[in-house]
């Protein structure tokens, strides 16, 4: 018992009509990194919110360092040394690092006129950095910093509370690139050495092996099991099975033979500062994968193929014919559709319902010649799309904002399918999507590629390696690797993506 930083016993929590937590036991050893896993709706965030005082539990006991406590308010959690860093670092962009760290705790007094002593703040920040040596410049405005540095500032803010001993990191890596994840790992090591216990929530299962000491899987509001990472012979598939509760038939769908029919080809496509001389060739029945880190240019490349950006030079050929593509309307004419990487911003109209979103790119199909919408046909077509894609929703008139990430992504894909194009480009198709929905989306993409040309661009190397037939690796806007998947390896792709292959050539 002595060694437990936190012990939660029999935690229960219900919301109207749903039992979110049905008696969960969870314990955290001192100085360990404990991964908390589960698909969306399994109860992870409810558990964390109870721990940080946002929700109050219906039943159960919480012990911190062996002492029974009641946490009813976020402030109580804070005073007990529990700090949470959310997915999207909550920082004020125009403030410099140390101002963000001590936001709201700048001065002793609590009056509006309490004077902020910058020198004192800087010293406090310096002392914090000595204790937790992160590589971050605290005197720069946060908007000039990289994502990992923002994350570091959010973590430092959590640690600025002297007594912080339990740190919750909620999906810290979902917005980080590979190199940054490595840095984060080092930072977590530093925290461990200072005796801080970490609860680590993630969707990326392979991270667990690098970062965590133990992991706990939640399913349907229950603890399915807690395992030591190095003790059991587990792999990501087994963990996924635990999370899903049924045997994963296969995460990644079977590959098919590809045909020779070339549908899309680019020659020397260039966009200054983003990518240079990109030559791609996509065949019917094949999935072309583009792997690159965030900032490698794959985002701009995809958008150029969809007419959002206009490349400075180069040519695009569709079925052998050169096409002119300067706008989304041109792309529409050319039969191209992009399922964008940031679905909340680029993909969906969150406040509208599934019907509205599904038909948005092909309104002509449900409209009369005068432009009047045939509502019944729209509903029928949308229902068919919901069945086809397996979108779980009470009805076709459900607001997209109220769906889970995976279902939202399916709605955006549905919009693309409904638009009936020849070439589909998926950018980061499974970001923020849980494991269960992930394999469904992969299956869909594979199914689609039988009829159409498909490009998948992602910063998740394993994703590209596992579902694509041909891989192109982008590094700083240059194509550094261009091979059929069966002639390359995951580590080779990763290496080229990270370094551009310079080390490999040595």
């Amino acid at each position: 018992m002595e060694k437990l930083a936190l012990s939660m016993i029999g935690i229960q929590k219900s919301f109207p009509g749903v039992q979110a937590l049905a008696g969960v036991d969870f314990n955290l050893r001192k100085g360990e990194v404990h991964a908390l896993l589960g698909i969306n709706g399994a109860g992870k965030s409810t558990l964390i919110k109870i721990l940080s005082g946002i929700y109050s539990k219906d039943a159960g006991e919480i012990y911190i360092h062996g002492r029974l406590v009641e946490i009813d308010e976020p402030l109580e959690a804070k005073s007990l040394g529990i700090a949470t860093v959310y997915q999207d670092p909550q920082v004020i962009p125009s403030f410099v690092g140390y101002e963000n760290i001590f936001l709201g705790a700048e001065a002793e007094g609590n009056s509006v006129f309490s004077i902020i002593n910058r020198k004192n703040l800087k010293e406090r920040a310096q002392r914090l950095l000595e204790k937790f040596p992160f590589n971050v410049d605290l005197t720069k405005p946060v908007l000039e910093l990289e994502t990992i540095e923002k994350e570091a500032i959010a973590v430092l803010r959590a640690l600025s509370q002297e007594n912080t001993s339990i740190l919750v990191l909620d999906e810290p890596t979902s917005i980080l690139a590979y190199e940054e994840i490595r840095i984060l790992r080092e930072q977590i090591q530093v925290l461990k050495e200072r005796g801080i216990s970490i609860i680590y929530i993630t969707h990326r299962l392979n991270e667990i092996f690098d970062i965590a000491d133990r992991f706990t899987v939640l399913r349907d509001g229950k603890n399915v099991g807690t395992y030591a990472v190095d003790e059991t012979l587990i792999d990501t598939n087994k963990i996924a099975e635990l999370m899903l509760g049924e045997k994963l038939s296969q995460m990644y769908p079977q590959r098919d033979s590809t045909s020779e029919e070339e549908i899309l080809r680019t020659e020397n496509l260039s966009l200054v500062d983003h990518f240079e001389n990109v030559n791609l060739s996509v065949h019917k029945g094949e999935i072309l994968g583009i792997f690159g880190l965030v900032g490698s240019g794959f985002d701009e490349l995809c958008k150029s193929l969809y007419g959002i950006n206009t490349p400075e030079s180069g040519h695009i050929f569709i079925k052998g014919k050169e096409v002119n593509q300067e706008s989304v309307s041109d792309a529409e004419q050319n039969g191209i559709f992009l399922i964008p990487g940031d679905r909340r911003i680029e993909g969906q109209i969150s406040e509208e319902n599934i019907c509205f979103n599904t038909t948005l790119s092909n309104l002509g199909k449900i409209a009369t010649k005068l432009g009047l919408i045939k509502l019944r046909k729209e509903r029928k077509d949308t229902n068919r799309m919901i069945d086809l894609l397996g979108i779980s929703t009470p009805s076709a008139t459900q607001k997209v904002a109220l769906l889970s990430g995976g279902n939202q992504q399916k709605v955006v894909i549905g919009k693309g399918l409904y638009a009936k194009r020849d070439i589909y480009i998926f950018e980061e198709p499974t970001i923020g999507v849980d494991v269960g929905a992930k394999s469904g989306i992969y299956k869909l993409i594979r199914e689609l590629s039988k009829e159409k040309a498909v490009i998948v661009a992602s910063s998740d190397c394993e994703e590209i390696f596992s579902i694509c037939d041909h891989a192109v690796v982008l590094h700083k806007g240059q194509v550094v690797l261009d091979k059929p998947i069966n002639e390359t390896r995951l580590d080779e792709m990763l290496l080229y993506g990270l370094t551009g292959g310079i080390d490999a050539k040595k």
């Binding site: 529409e332 911003i345 680029e346 969150s350 948005l360 607001k399």
Partner: protein
């Protein structure tokens, strides 16, 4: 089971806000009836309807701009320009119909400038439209140095534009239903309507879906300008003179009407705007009957607008906690 219940509850909530609105409307009407015996008479209700017809058309135009996620602070200014342009040509002896058309054209041209400035060049809508509107208002002084224009008003037949009747129905009431039905079909039952909502809901996603965002913002500003101009032309005709300040009264009631509509249906809509205009018009009519000074009306309309905004925002906040709406979207919208 649980899903059904959830759906039922959300249905109930939408339904509830309509009921609350009808309750408020009933209370206002009962109060006005008790305060003034003349309120609930056919003659007065017809007068209220005519007032409604004029003001609610401005609100209808504004609904389009709010639907695409923008604000227009120029429509009252530019409607003065339209009104004075029409009055000028009436004064010069031109027939009513061409004068009306030239007036509308004048207002529409300012709407075009709004649309280009905000849609194409993406300048901040509030500031840009205030500036453009001020210029338009300034121009309306040029025709008569800011003096009233009376010439030919009684003889040209322009008064018929607002006082005429078809089968006993006042023309403005016909305009009201004509424009509202047309707008309802366009906004809620056509491809273009979808596009307006898509642009207002998420501009970036609309663009990625192949919708010509700039075009719809442009059109919305023109619709707003034309309908505000139309309202002020009616107002000018019914008052029998051209007044440079005539259209300024359109600003607050239009905003209040649109936002009362948003507070009922959670988003701008033709029916919502109509209900909003109805409430505002009834209140204005009641206060006029009681000989309340004009600033009391401004006060009441202003308070209604604030209340409506608060109600519509609270609703969005509640949704945000359930649906996890992305922060970036809100920033985008702002």
């Amino acid at each position: 089971m649980q899903r059904n219940r959830k759906q039922f509850m959300s249905f109930n909530r939408d339904y509830l806000s309509v009921l609350i609105f009808l309750g408020v409307l009933a209370i206002v009407m009962i109060a006005l009836t008790l305060l003034n015996e003349y309120f609930l008479t056919i003659n007065n209700l017809l007068r209220a309807l005519k007032h409604l017809s004029i003001f609610s058309l401005t609100a209808l135009g504004l609904t389009f701009v709010v639907t695409v996620g923008h604000s227009d602070m120029s429509f009252h200014f530019l409607s003065c320009f339209a009104g004075m342009t029409m009055s000028f040509f009436i004064g010069k002896g031109m027939a009513p119909l061409p004068s009306i058309l030239i007036g509308l054209l004048a207002g529409a041209s300012v709407g075009v400038i709004n649309g280009i400035t905000v849609g194409k060049f993406k300048l901040p809508d509030m500031i840009a439209t205030i500036a453009i509107g001020s210029v338009a208002w300034g121009m309306s002084y040029l025709y008569s140095n800011g003096n009233y224009i009376y010439e030919n008003f009684l003889t040209s037949g322009i008064i018929q534009f607002s006082d005429g009747r078809l089968f006993e129905i006042p023309y403005p009431v016909l305009y009201l239903f004509g424009f509202y039905i047309l707008a309802y079909v366009v906004l809620h039952h056509t491809k273009s309507g979808r596009a307006f909502y898509a642009v207002g809901g998420n501009r970036v996603a609309a663009r990625f879906s192949g919708i010509k965002v700039e075009k719809y913002i442009f059109i919305a500003f023109i619709i707003c300008a034309v309908l505000a101009s139309f309202s002020n032309l009616l107002l000018t005709a019914s008052q029998g003179n051209g007044n440079v300040k005539g259209g300024l009264v359109l600003l607050m009631p239009a905003w209040a009407s649109v936002y009362v509509g948003v507070s009922i249906f959670k988003k701008p809509s033709v029916v919502g705007t109509f209900l909003g205009s109805f409430l505002i018009s009834i209140m204005q009519n009641g206060f006029t009957l009681m000989n309340a000074p004009f600033y009391i009306m401004d006060l009441i309309v202003g308070l209604t607008l604030i209340a409506a905004i608060i109600i519509s925002k609270t609703e969005i906040k509640q949704k945000a906690s359930v649906g996890k709406i992305s922060k970036t979207n809100e920033i985008e919208a702002a």
